[in-house]
C-alpha cells in the first residue's frame, strides 16, 4: 500500500483546487436559491448620535423594492453577546458607518438605488475619534485580547544606568483585513428551519449565535461555509451580514443575500486598532537586557472593549532583569476593532523588534547576535519551560541562507545609482492555541473512509490536511480518505482562527480515526452497508493546561532598495525561517507562510488607514485608497522551516502556521530601511512621502 502512514508532511494538492481554478467553487453570495432577493445596507453618516427619523417612502416607491428594514420595523432579536450584531434594534449610532437601514429588492441595482433613496435624519452629537498617547480617557483595561492580563511587571529597576539604552515611540495605524470575498450571507427560512450560507471562519459559532438571537433551537439552523474567500480574522465570529440576511429573509419570506459593498467593510467587520508604542530598552555592555518596557495605547469603540494585546509578545521573547508591559485603551466614537492576522503579535513585534535593532546599533552589535544573547532559559513572564523554541536556530539558519555574514553593518553603506540598499532582521513569535473539537470517522464497505468535522477552509487547505491527518491515523493511503467540512450539520468544531484550526480539528480527527482503527480490529466479517464509525470529542484534553510555554518562533530577513529620488521603498528579497512544530503539508504550509509575509510587506510599506477627525470615518476605505500589496510589490519570497519535534502539542506535533509569517516581517523591512538610509522611521507604513521627508532630514 503505497503512501500508507506517510501522508503527513507530504505536499498533497488541494482537494478543492480543481473547483477553484474552474470557477466551480461557490461562495456565500453565489447560492441562487429560487426567488432569492438582494439586500443593500444604509450606513450612518454621523459619527455619534441617534436616528430621529427614517423616511423610506421614496425608496419603497422604486420598482423592485420589497422592504426597507429600520430599527422601527426590523425583527426583534435577543440582545447579542457581541454588541456589533445588535443591528436595527434601536436608534443609537455608535460610529459612522453603523447600519441604520437595510433595503431588500428584486435585484442588486434596485436595492442599491433604493438604499440611496432612504432618507435618514439624525440628532448628531460631538464626536472624538482621535487617538493620542496621552488621551485623557485612556485607561488600563481588566484584560486584553486573548484574556491576557493588561499589565505585568517583573524584577526591579536597576539603580545604575545601562551601557546602552533606547527610548522610542512607534506607531502602527489602523489596518484593514480586506479579504477578497466581501462579507456575505445568503439566508433562507423554510418551515421554521433557517439555512444560511455565510462567509465565516467558523460555522459552529454562527449557528450558536443565530440560535440565541432568533430564539430557535440550533437543530433548526444550518450554516454552510463551503468555500470562504479569506477572512484574516475579520470573519472569525459572526458579523452583521448574517444577522441582517436572516432578518431580511424573515421579513420578506424570500431567500435573501446580503453582500457588503467593499467600501462599507472597514466600519462594520472589525479592523486592526491603531497602536501607539513606547519601548524602553536598557542593556549592559554585552548586550544583555537590563530592562524592557513596552507600553501600548490603543482605541476601541463605545459599544465593545477590544484591546489589541500588542505588549504581550514582549513577555515571551527576551529575558530582562526588569520588565514592564502594559496596555491602555481609549473608548472613542470609532468602529469596533477586532482580530486581524496575528492581533497583538504583529504590531507588538514590529515595535519590539525595531527597538532591538536600535539597541543593536547603540551597542555596535550585530542584531542577530543581540537576539541570541538575550535568549531566555524559560518563558520570561510565566517561568514555564518552553515546549520547544529554536528561535536561535531560525536566526542562524536564516542568516546562513541570507548570507548575513557578508553584510556591512554600517548604515548607508551600499548604493546602486539612486538606490540605497539595506538589509534587516527581526524575530517572530506566535502562541500555540488549540480548542476542543469533535469529529467523526467512518469506514465504508468499499474500503474508503469519510471524516466529518465542521472545519472551515478559508484558503488554508483544511480539507486536504485533515485527510492527511486521517490517513496517517488510519494507516491507509491518502486517496482512500474523503473529508467533509464547512457545514454545521457536521460534528461541531471551533473556528479557523488563532492559527489553531488544524491543531484543533486535526486532534479530533486523529482521535476519531484511532478509535475507528480499534473498532475495525474488533470487528469480524464484512462491514455493514452503513459502515462503522467512531466519534471523538477532545474537550478536557485539547484545552487542558500545559506545564509548558508553547509558541512557534521564526526569523525574518529582508533586503530593500530605497529610491532617494522618489522615496519609494521596494522589497528585493524576503526570507523567513520558522520553527513551528511538524509541518503537515509542505505545499499549503509554504503558501500560508509566504502569504502572511506578503501581508507583512503591506503593513510595512503600503497599508495604512486614517481616522478622519472631522467626519469620524476611515479615509482609506476601499481598495483604491487602501493599498494591499499587488503583484509588482512582491518579489520572490522564501519560506523555510526547521524539522522541529515537539511532543507537548497535539498528536500530530504541529504548531499553527497561519499568522507567524506576518509577525516579524514589518520590523525586518523597517530595519532594512534604516540600514539602507541611516534614518529611523517609526511610523508605518513607510510610504514615499515619509521616506523622502526623512531623507531630507
Amino acid at each position: 500500500m503505497a503512501g500508507t502512514g506517510t501522508a503527513l508532511g507530504a505536499p498533497a494538492e488541494r482537494r478543492e483546487g480543481q473547483l477553484k481554478v474552474t470557477g466551480g467553487a461557490r461562495y456565500a453570495a453565489e447560492h441562487a436559491l429560487p426567488g432569492r432577493a438582494q439586500a443593500w445596507p444604509v450606513p450612518a453618516t454621523v459619527a455619534r448620535g441617534r436616528v430621529t427619523a427614517v423616511d423610506a417612502t421614496a425608496a419603497l416607491r422604486l420598482p423592485g423594492v420589497l422592504a426597507v428594514l429600520t430599527h422601527e420595523n426590523a425583527p426583534r432579536i435577543t440582545e447579542p453577546e457581541d454588541p456589533i450584531l445588535g443591528v436595527l434594534q434601536n436608534p443609537a449610532v455608535p460610529h459612522r458607518g453603523w447600519f441604520v437601514a437595510l433595503v431588500v429588492a428584486e435585484s442588486l441595482e434596485a436595492a442599491r438605488a433604493a438604499a440611496a433613496a432612504v432618507r435618514v435624519e439624525y440628532a448628531a452629537e460631538d464626536h472624538d475619534v482621535t487617538l493620542t498617547a496621552d488621551h485623557p480617557e485612556a485607561y488600563e483595561p481588566e484584560s486584553v485580547n486573548g484574556e491576557h492580563p493588561t499589565r505585568r511587571e517583573h524584577g526591579r529597576r536597576a539603580s545604575d544606568s545601562p551601557a546602552a539604552r533606547v527610548n522610542v515611540a512607534y506607531e502602527v495605524p489602523p489596518l484593514h483585513n480586506h479579504p477578497m470575498e466581501p462579507h456575505a450571507s445568503t439566508a433562507h427560512w423554510d418551515q421554521g428551519h433557517l439555512t444560511v450560507y455565510s462567509s465565516s471562519q467558523g460555522g459552529t459559532t454562527v449557528r450558536e449565535t443565530l440560535a440565541a438571537l432568533f430564539g430557535i433551537p440550533e437543530e433548526r439552523i444550518t450554516v454552510v461555509a463551503d468555500h470562504v474567500g479569506g477572512g484574516f480574522g475579520s470573519k472569525g465570529t459572526p458579523r452583521p451580514d448574517v444577522v441582517l440576511a436572516a432578518m431580511a429573509a424573515l421579513t420578506t419570506g424570500r431567500p435573501v443575500t446580503v453582500s457588503f459593498p467593499r467600501r462599507f467593510l472597514p466600519a462594520v467587520v472589525g479592523h486592526r486598532a491603531p497602536t501607539l508604542h513606547r519601548v524602553r530598552l536598557g542593556a549592559d555592555a554585552d548586550g544583555r537586557l537590563t530592562s524592557l518596557t513596552h507600553e501600548v495605547t490603543t482605541h476601541t469603540s463605545r459599544i465593545k472593549e477590544f484591546v489589541e494585546q500588542a505588549a504581550v509578545p514582549a513577555r515571551v521573547m527576551y529575558d530582562a532583569a526588569h520588565s514592564l508591559t502594559v496596555h491602555r485603551v481609549a473608548r472613542l466614537d470609532v468602529p469596533t476593532p477586532s482580530w486581524m492576522r496575528a492581533p497583538g503579535e504583529a504590531p507588538g513585534m514590529y515595535a519590539l523588534e525595531s527597538a532591538m535593532d536600535e539597541l543593536a546599533a547603540e551597542l555596535g552589535m550585530d542584531p542577530v547576535e543581540l537576539r541570541i544573547v538575550n535568549e531566555p532559559e524559560r518563558e520570561p513572564d510565566s517561568g514555564k519551560p518552553f515546549s520547544s523554541r529554536h528561535l536561535v536556530d531560525c536566526l542562524r539558519e536564516g542568516a546562513r541562507r541570507f548570507d548575513w555574514s557578508r553584510r556591512d553593518p554600517r548604515p548607508r553603506s551600499r548604493a546602486e545609482g539612486p538606490l540605497l540598499i539595506g538589509t534587516g532582521v527581526a524575530s517572530a513569535t506566535y502562541p500555540v492555541l488549540v480548542s476542543p473539537s469533535t469529529a467523526r470517522a467512518q469506514a465504508l464497505p468499499d474500503g474508503t473512509f469519510v471524516v466529518r468535522v465542521n472545519a472551515t477552509d478559508i484558503g488554508t487547505g483544511a480539507r486536504t490536511v485533515l485527510a492527511q491527518v486521517a490517513a496517517d491515523a488510519l494507516e491507509v493511503p491518502l486517496d482512500r480518505v474523503r473529508t467533509e467540512v464547512g457545514s454545521s450539520d457536521l460534528p461541531s468544531a471551533p473556528l479557523a482562527g488563532g492559527s489553531s484550526g488544524t491543531a484543533s480539528w486535526g486532534w479530533a480527527v486523529h482521535v476519531a480515526c484511532r478509535e475507528l482503527v480499534a473498532r475495525l480490529a474488533a470487528h469480524a466479517g464484512p462491514l455493514p452497508a452503513e459502515g462503522i464509525d467512531a466519534h471523538a470529542d477532545t474537550s478536557g484534553r485539547a484545552d487542558a493546561d500545559s506545564p509548558f510555554a508553547r509558541h512557534a518562533f521564526g526569523a525574518h530577513f529582508a533586503e530593500v532598495g530605497v529610491d532617494t529620488v522618489t522615496g519609494e521603498v521596494r522589497v528585493r528579497r524576503l526570507l523567513g525561517v520558522y520553527a513551528a512544530g511538524r509541518i503537515l503539508n509542505a505545499r499549503t504550509a509554504r503558501s500560508q507562510f509566504v502569504g502572511a509575509m506578503t501581508m507583512g510587506l503591506g503593513m510595512a510599506l503600503t497599508e495604512g488607514s486614517t481616522m478622519d477627525a472631522a467626519f469620524g470615518d476611515f479615509t482609506e476605505c476601499d481598495l483604491a485608497s487602501y493599498h494591499v500589496p499587488a503583484h509588482a510589490d512582491v518579489p520572490s519570497i522564501e519560506a523555510h522551516w526547521l524539522d522541529e519535534t515537539d511532543t507537548h502539542l497535539n498528536p500530530m506535533g504541529s504548531k499553527g502556521i497561519g499568522e507567524i509569517g506576518i509577525v516579524g516581517t514589518a520590523a525586518a523591512i523597517g530595519n532594512a530601511v534604516h540600514h539602507a538610509t541611516g534614518v529611523r522611521f517609526r511610523t508605518l507604513p513607510l510610504t514615499p512621502d515619509k521616506v523622502l521627508g526623512g531623507l531630507a532630514g
Binding site: 494538492e13 488541494r14 478543492e16 483546487g17 480543481q18 473547483l19 477553484k20 481554478v21 474552474t22 470557477g23 466551480g24 467553487a25 461557490r26 461562495y27 453565489e30 441562487a32 426567488g35 432577493a37 420598482p63 423592485g64 423594492v65 420589497l66 435585484s107 442588486l108 441595482e109 434596485a110 438605488a113 479579504p179 477578497m180 470575498e181 466581501p182 468555500h227 470562504v228 474567500g229 479569506g230 453582500s259 459593498p261 467593499r262 484558503g459 488554508t460 487547505g461 499549503t588 509554504r590 503558501s591 509566504v594 502569504g595 502572511a596 509575509m597 506578503t598 476601499d622 481598495l623 483604491a624 494591499v628 500589496p629 499587488a630 503583484h631 509588482a632 512582491v634 518579489p635 520572490s636
Partner: protein, 191 residues
Amino acid sequence: MGSDIHDSEAGGGPSAPPDEHRSTTTLRVNGKPHTLVVDHRRALLDVLREDLDLTGAKKGCDHGQCGACTVLLDGRRVNSCLQLAVALDGSEVTTIEGLAGDGEELHPLQRAFLDRDAFQCGYCTPGQICSALGALDEAAAGHPSHVTAPAAPSGRPVPLDADEIRERLSGNLCRCGAYPRIVEAVEDVVR
C-alpha cells in the same frame, strides 16, 4: 436567433424597472448566445453571476479596483464590474467557466495554478487566470508594459519574464499573497 431569451429582472413583472430603463441585449458567453432584457444599470459581472449563474467571475470590490471579476471581452481582458451590459450588444465574453473548452482537460493556466499551488482561498483565482490569459495575448501581440525596455522593438512579441508578469498582473489583487506562485504558474505556461 437560436438563443434563450430571458429577463434579467426576476419575474420581469411589475417589480421590474420601466421599459425605457431596459433593453434587449445579446451576448455570446463561452460560445453560447444569450439574449437578455437588461436593466441599464446592470454590469456585465452581474449579468454573468445573477442571470446566467456563471459565478466564476467574482465580485471583490465592484469598482474596478481588485480584478476579481476579470473576464475576456472580445478577446481582451476587462473588469466586468465596470462594463454596462447594455453597451455590449453583440459581444463575445469568455469567463473562467469557458476556458477548459468542452472536454475535461483543464486550460494550461488552470493546470499550472494547481501545480504551483498558486492560490489559497480561491476568490481572486478566476480573475488571475483570465487576466493572465489576456496578458499572454497582449504580450504576443507586442503590447509593451511599464517595465518593457524602451528599446524593445515595437509591435514584436514581448518576452514575458517574471517582472513583466508581475507588472501585467498588478490589476489583480490577491490578499492571500499567492503572488510568487502565480508568477511561477504563468511562467510555466510561457515556457
